[in-house]
Every structure is written in structure tokens, then in C-alpha cells.
Symmetry: C3
Subunit: 256 residues, 3 copies
């Protein structure tokens, strides 16, 4: 094992321990398809989710939260207002937030809204390759990702066959995960929520993003070994998130 | 076994049997995080859930329902209007309804709205200790709970490590349940829905509330014995609700 | 085995293979209770679901979809506008769409809205007996179903103990399925979504509807053999949808 590899894996394990110990509150503005799975993933890791999107209430919830997730799935006008309020509140309190521009490649107005949010300094953006290409205006190469991260002063967490995490200077590649993860709805949304939980306990946003994605990837591998298909996999990954410990994480993290 | 203990357990079993036999319709105004799990819990017990929150439709649904659940999670302005219409309709028809003031401790406007609904005579209020303290303006003691129940002429179902059910005169403590119940999203919301189903078949709201919470607690214990974490627990508790019979309930209910 | 029986079963297997190979995009306007289960059912079969209901976005999503599902559960005013836009867009592009008039028997305004949508030529309508009787104004008999299908030039997929699929000329009866399917929320909604996925790969709407309902019925039987109640059944049917192959479908389809 390389030293850097091992060091980063230890850091991932530290972040996981801290989430379990501190139980951060993570407020999620997320689509109705993903809410239940996302809440259960956060609970399994030890975080405390809340999910209201009502413009009148979202400010108070964010003010008392330790991190915020803004996911653009199934948003209507009221939901967009809720995002604005939530981000404003997070900015005031210095609360870290994650942007998940889900399906931004499918809708022009959503892409425009996502771009306006990128300008408001999310600590991290979690997305897939097609979504990145839409936001960045160019296909995701090592160089393009780094430039985008520098330009917007945020961490890019690009998930796919391998996950890439880049803050413009540092770059990690995470080889964990399982093909079944792409067969369960809301898996990407849950990944973003876990990143938010990790940001709540680690000021280094790059480390936190690496931790969130590695944790889910390792849990996914554990789940795959017990699953008989995507239905039982979705159940088993929640179990795995709940029982994940230092040793399993350190042993199985394939991050460098 | 004490006679009163055993008597109450028999009553719980009676209520469960009646839900299975009569298949009451339970209309749920509940948050989008909880809808699917709540609907499956009701179906597993033998009730028939409906979930629309559209102000134009909710009145008709409530008019044809045997009980109503009003849960304040993720409510927007339209949702609050739906609550008003639903409670009005339930009042006209004498249909019992349950208030679940979820996360009322996190949001001032939600607390104010919840207080206005308490004044409209829910048959039962199901909540946790922090939510109760917010509504009652004082920490939950035996005396404070009883006074609150008398003042608002409703049953208080306070869930936690042990559940307390009080109508101002009578008080039950339910020792059933499992720690995993706190690790699954919407478990409290489902508890409130089961209480609504029980209210539909028992005019004694105190007995119905005891029944709903005991049924879920016993199912939770059965599920915990088969679960490997919160994911498989959430699945197993639905199975357990579905197969719960008189004998298991009578044997395992720890209520007095 | 009768030749026609066997021939139709082969056709069902063909449609299933084509969904897996072509991965059609299915846009679903469906109720929040059903979204997650529906998305996972579509993914398990090999289709790609999207679920936004925002009026500003739904047009673009439908324009890039291969089939559309319009389910009337939990619709508000905005949701109805989204339906109108989506159906308009589907009409322009010649994209097949399925109407699921869920609980239309419970709400007059919903019934009126459903009737207006029937007039806009869904390729198929998937519903149960009570819902059909509400729309047709008469109980579902062989004759009434055939007339309704002819009059509205659509396929009727009537689900119940046995499923009936009729386009006015041809009639199929599907004997697959399991009683547990009625104990899981959103099973009917998922059936409609699978029909939409099949319509995307087969221009013969009658065959596609037979295929969608048979696939779910066969998966339900496989799931029932492994389930311990409705909770584990809901998980197992997703696994079964994912692993369903030609041979299982051909062997187990009981359709004629």
C-alpha cells in the first residue's frame, strides 16, 4: 500500500467516526423521489435529516442545521424560492452546502438555475459526467474538472465507474462501488447527502467529499455481496452504512 | 401477570382484529418523506390508505374516510389549506383524527399552526418529548401531560424509550419497541397513522392510541430479531405488522 | 399448451428483451407515494425513469422521453397543468402515453379531469374495476370494456384477480400475479409505468399492455415464493423484475 492511499483512507475513517459521534443535522432540499432513501441513508450513517421545502420554514431549519443539501430534482417555483432562502441562510451562518444538479442535462431552465447556484459558492458539487459537461460546457477531463473547481472555488465530486474528487489542486480517484448502485433510484442523491453530512464535521471540503463518496462506495460493495438484485441491494446498503466501522473502511477504501 | 396489564393487552388484540376485519379507510395528510412507508404500514395492518393533499380533493377523501391523520412535516401553504379543509370535514362527520406535530420544535410558524390545530380537537396527538415540550410550553412530566390532555380534551401519545398514553384520567406506559425504530425515517409518522386506523374501530380514544402504539412496538421487536440493520428492519417491520396475531400481541404486549 | 397462449408468451418475452436492450426513457407524472417504487421498478426492468412535475420542465423531459405515464394520484392544480403540457408534448412527438386514473372513484373533480384526458387518446389506460366503472359509467363486463376501448381508441388494461387487456377487438386474460400485490402501495402505479416502458418498444399497444402486466405478474409470483410478508415482497419483486429472463417469462406466463 502507498502511504498517501492509506493516509486518505484513515482520514475517511476519521470523518465517518465524527459523523457518528456528532450526529450533524443535515437539511435536504431534495426531490420527492429521493427523500425517503436519502433520509434513511443519513440516519444509517448517524446524521439527523430534515427535509422541509416550504419557503416559510426552510430558513429556520437551515439556521439550525450543520449542513445543507440542494438537489434540483422535481423542483417547482416554490422549490426554487426555498433554495434561494436556504442558500442565503447557509451563507449567513457559514454552513457548508452541497449542490446536486441532477438531470441538468435534460432541462434548459434547470441548467440556468443550476449555473446561478454554482455562483453562490457551494462547498461541493456532486454530479455525473453528463451533468458536469452541461454545467461546464465541455466534457469532463482532468484539466477541465480542475479548472472548473478553481474557477468556482468549490470541490467537484464526479461520480461514475470511478469517482473523481477535485478541488482544483488536489485530486482523488475512488475505485469503490458496485454496478448495482446505478440500478437504484436516488443513489446519487444519497451520495450528495452523505457528502453534506461529512462537510458538517470536516472543514476540508475535499477530504469531506472524498469521505462521503468512499463511505457510500464501500457500503455498496458490502451490500452487493448480500444482495439478489437492486431491491435487496437498496435495503442492504442502508444496513451496511449503519454497520460500517473504521476497520472495514480502512481495509476496503480504494482511494488515491 | 397483573390483571389490568393482561386486560389492556387483550383490548389491544381486539382492536387489531377489528382493523383487519373492517379495513378502515385512513386518509393521511402527511409529508412526502413518510408517505410510502406509512401507506405500507397501514396496508400491512389491514387498513386502506389514501394520501391526496390537493385542497380540491381532500374534502371528498376525508368525507369517505373512517379516520384522518394530519402530519405537519414538509407542509406548504397549499398543504395547510388542505389540513383546514380536512379537519372541517372530519368535524362535520364526527370522524376521528390524529395530529402529528412533527419537528414542531424546529420551526416557529409550524408551532403556531400546530397550536391552532390542537384547539380543533384532534382525538389524539402523537409526538415525542421535544415536540410535546414545544406545544405545552413545559417539559413532559406525568402531571404536565395529564393537564395538557385534560385541557385540550384529547389523548396524548408520547413516544420515546417508553411510550406514554394519557387522556387526562387514565395513563398507560408501553415498554415495547426497539432502538432501531429511531433509525428509520417516518417511523413516528407511521405510528400516528396506525393510531388513526385504531381510532376508526374503537370509540375509546385512549384504548385506540394504546393499541396503535403497542402494535407498532410489538412489530418492532419481532422485526429487530430478524434485521441486520435499519434497512432490513424497515422491511421486516412491515412483514411483522402483516403477520401479527392475537396470540403474539397478547403474549408480547408490555403495557400497563 | 395452446399455440396462441404460447405465441403471446413469446411476444411478452420479446418485449421484455427489447426494454432491456433499448433502455427507453419513461417520464412519469405520478403521485409522491408511488415515485420511488415506480422508479425502482422501471430501473429493474431496464428503463430509465424521470419524474419531474414542474410545469416549466415537464415539456422538455417529455420531448426527450420514449413514453409517458400520467397518474392522477395526489394531483394539485400545478400537477394538472403539468399533465396538460406533457400530453400536448407527447401528442406532437407521437410519444405513447398511459393514463392511470387512480382512485377516480373517490373524487368527482378527479373523475372529470380523467374523462377529459381519456378524450386525448392515451395509448393505454390501466385501472382497476371500480375505477373503470366510474369512468365508463357501468360495471366492467366483457362487452362494456370492449365498447369503451373502441369508443376511445385505446387499450384498456383492467387489473384485478385476473388482468384483462382489450383493445376493442382483441382480448387477453392474464392469470399471473399474487395476492400480496394488493398489499403493497403503488403496485398498480408501477404496473402502469411498466406498460409505458413496453409501449416505448412495441407499436402494438395491446401487445405492449399485455407484456407490461404479464411481466409484473410473473415477477410477483417469483417474489411471493421468497417473501415473508408485504415488506419483503416489495423488495423481492424489484429483484425479480431485474432478473426476469426469456425462459422464466415463456414458462410462467399464463396469458391467453
Amino acid at each position: 500500500m502507498h502511504a498517501p492511499h492509506s493516509e486518505l483512507a484513515q482520514r475517511v475513517a476519521d470523518v465517518c467516526d465524527r459523523v457518528r459521534a456528532r450526529r450533524p443535522r443535515v437539511h435536504c432540499i431534495t426531490n420527492t423521489v429521493a427523500q425517503s432513501f436519502t433520509a434513511n441513508a443519513l440516519l444509517a450513517l448517524g446524521a439527523v435529516p430534515s427535509m422541509t421545502v416550504s419557503p416559510e420554514e426552510v430558513g429556520t431549519f437551515v439556521a439550525h442545521a450543520d449542513a445543507l443539501l440542494v438537489n434540483l430534482g422535481t423542483l417547482d417555483a416554490e422549490g426554487r424560492t426555498a433554495c434561494e432562502i436556504a442558500i442565503e441562510e447557509a451563507g449567513k451562518a457559514g454552513t457548508p452546502w452541497v449542490l446536486d444538479p441532477v438531470f441538468v442535462d435534460r432541462s434548459q431552465p434547470r441548467a440556468a438555475f443550476a449555473r446561478s447556484l454554482v455562483a453562490r459558492q457551494p462547498r461541493a458539487i456532486r454530479l455525473n459526467g453528463v451533468e458536469f459537461a452541461t454545467l461546464a460546457g465541455a466534457d469532463a477531463s482532468e484539466e477541465i474538472i480542475a479548472r472548473f473547481a478553481r474557477e468556482h472555488r468549490c470541490v467537484v465530486g464526479l461520480t461514475g465507474v470511478a469517482d473523481i474528487v477535485c478541488d482544483g489542486e488536489r485530486r482523488a480517484a475512488i475505485a469503490n462501488g458496485d454496478a448495482l448502485m446505478a440500478k437504484v433510484t436516488a443513489m446519487g442523491c444519497a451520495a450528495s447527502a452523505l457528502v453534506a453530512a461529512c462537510l458538517a464535521v470536516d472543514n476540508d471540503a475535499w477530504c469531506a467529499t472524498v469521505a462521503g463518496l468512499t463511505i457510500l462506495g464501500v457500503a455498496g460493495e458490502a451490500a452487493a455481496s448480500r444482495a439478489q438484485g437492486p431491491g435487496s441491494f437498496a435495503v442492504a446498503i442502508i444496513d451496511a452504512l449503519s454497520s460500517l466501522d473504521r476497520k472495514t473502511l480502512s481495509d476496503r477504501a480504494r482511494v488515491k
